[in-house]
Symmetry: C2
Subunit: 302 residues, 2 copies
């Protein structure tokens, strides 16, 4: 799993920071998570292939999380995209995108599917042989979901020398990788465990932005490899967190600690702060494996 | 008059170019013309005060000319704007902006007025003591207007030494500036022409983007100080100009020549071109006072 932060700053614009958007790479998938204004330019700058993005997940309909979506959809059209595009987001997202395409007398030349979300409990919204994705209902000023990405266990790792030693036909290697016992060339039954090893531990990533501090989410995200949790404010501005339904760095760290996650990635910093160093310090006082997202940063989740 | 080019490239995004937006400064007015995605960041980078923008003119509802508008309107809200904001643009612009504000449960805390345009003939849409603004109906794939900004003649220039020589009371200087004759302290009638000079010639600016080559506009923009005319293509791609209803640099120059404008500013370059130098060369072969817009460029129109 590789996470690329395209933007991780809160709403008001600055010359050189970007609103929220991330790309999560799992195998051949490139999942785009949120799409603030300017995301398409950030994709270009980070040399991410537009044509490989087939699934876009929008947490909520505040502008700094989705005003870049219509531009990206339009650009896909100009680039003669052929692949299906799936957009997952709150109810209303379809109407607003289609209205803008209609006003510009534009229609996509590729199939565009909207998966509008309305549930207030977790639901699986994507599932294939490699990954499953479910919503994490969050508490914010508007209907909001985080997203939980779980890799599925891969094939068992074939111990090639062992397989040769036990004289197993090459045609059976695929069965071995799938965990099956096989019959060797000499007729003996070979137990799978003798010739394979466990696959790498599946990784998981929880994206939680925007949200008020809500310990109710910890059971769902328990033990994930990495948690991105918004930290719009520092504790010194905690009086602003509750009315705006955002979190502080300390609160994000508490969630990480309670959920026992592998690591915490902070982001969605208010642009009132000139430096983001204090977010890390504040979170580390609660949860040591805390780190800072920043625009353009690539993070390997292992 | 000062023109600041925030963005002057056509639709598809690149790492370091911007879609269409310009700021025209006339006296105390800052008029924003078009508002492609990322305009608010370009305003920041060019150190233009958000609070001084009270009038926004949208030529047409293609994304590269207005996808940045909703973000700017939202940001004005976050910055606690108080002043009225007036948006002039094609019918439909109000619906799409208000739908997005509704979905994000946001309302502006400042008065927001939409002036929706539907006419296919020129109309005056703004007029005060300093400037008048009228639409320039253009031919493009969707309903489109250019905008013609005309300064009004300023006060006459007081020749202060002459006024003293003729012993004119200071209280009468205002009348002199307004072109009136006055009575001097010694009772003599002083003809205005003796103590004032003509004010600077009023400037005018015609913004024409996007449009097919249309000589029909030349009578309306005759003799303007400066014409910004789109030149999406070079003549080598003229076969693309007609179906997409855009112009070539040569066609823009023909319009400038036929209209007898002071200078021609080219822009809205297709991102297919690696360099824009050829646009200038091509236009200059027809109209020598041709120049290139570029992102971040400030142009004094005098």
């Amino acid at each position: 799993m590789k996470l690329t932060i395209l933007g991780c700053y809160a709403a008001t614009p600055r010359s050189f920071t970007n609103p929220t958007s991330q790309v999560l790479e799992i195998g051949n998938h490139l999942f785009l998570i949120d799409c603030g204004e300017g995301t398409q330019v950030q994709l270009r700058r980070n040399k991410i292939k537009f044509s490989k993005i087939n699934h876009i997940f929008i947490s909520h309909l505040h502008g700094d999380h989705f005003y870049g979506l219509v531009g990206l959809i339009s650009t896909f059209m100009l680039l003669n995209r052929q692949n299906d595009l799936h957009v997952y987001g709150p109810k209303g997202i379809k109407e607003v995108i289609l209205l803008q395409l209609k006003l510009s007398k534009s229609w996509t030349n590729y199939p565009l599917y909207f998966h509008e979300l309305t549930k207030k409990t977790p639901e699986v919204i994507f599932d294939d042989e490699r990954v499953s994705i479910e919503t994490i209902p969050l508490k914010h000023r508007v209907y909001t979901n985080g997203f939980l990405f779980r890799e599925k266990p891969g094939d068992r790792k074939l111990l090639i020398n062992k397989a040769k030693e036990y004289k197993i036909d090459v045609a059976l290697y695929k069965s071995l990788k799938k965990g099956k016992d096989v019959i060797a060339e000499d007729g003996k039954l070979i137990s799978n465990a003798l010739v394979t090893a466990d696959p790498p531990e599946p990784k998981s990533y929880a994206y939680c932005s925007d949200t008020i501090y809500d310990p109710g989410i910890t059971s769902q995200i328990k033990g994930v490899t990495a948690l991105y949790h918004e930290s719009t404010f520092l504790e010194s501005e905690s009086h602003l967190a509750e009315p705006t339904q955002h979190s502080t760095a300390k609160q994000a760290a508490r969630i990480a600690l309670e959920a026992g996650v592998g690591r915490l990635i902070l982001g969605h910093y208010s642009t009132r702060y000139d430096t983001i160093d204090f977010f890390k310090k504040e979170a580390e006082s609660i949860f040591s494996a805390s780190e800072l997202a920043d625009d353009g940063l690539e993070i390997i989740l292992d």
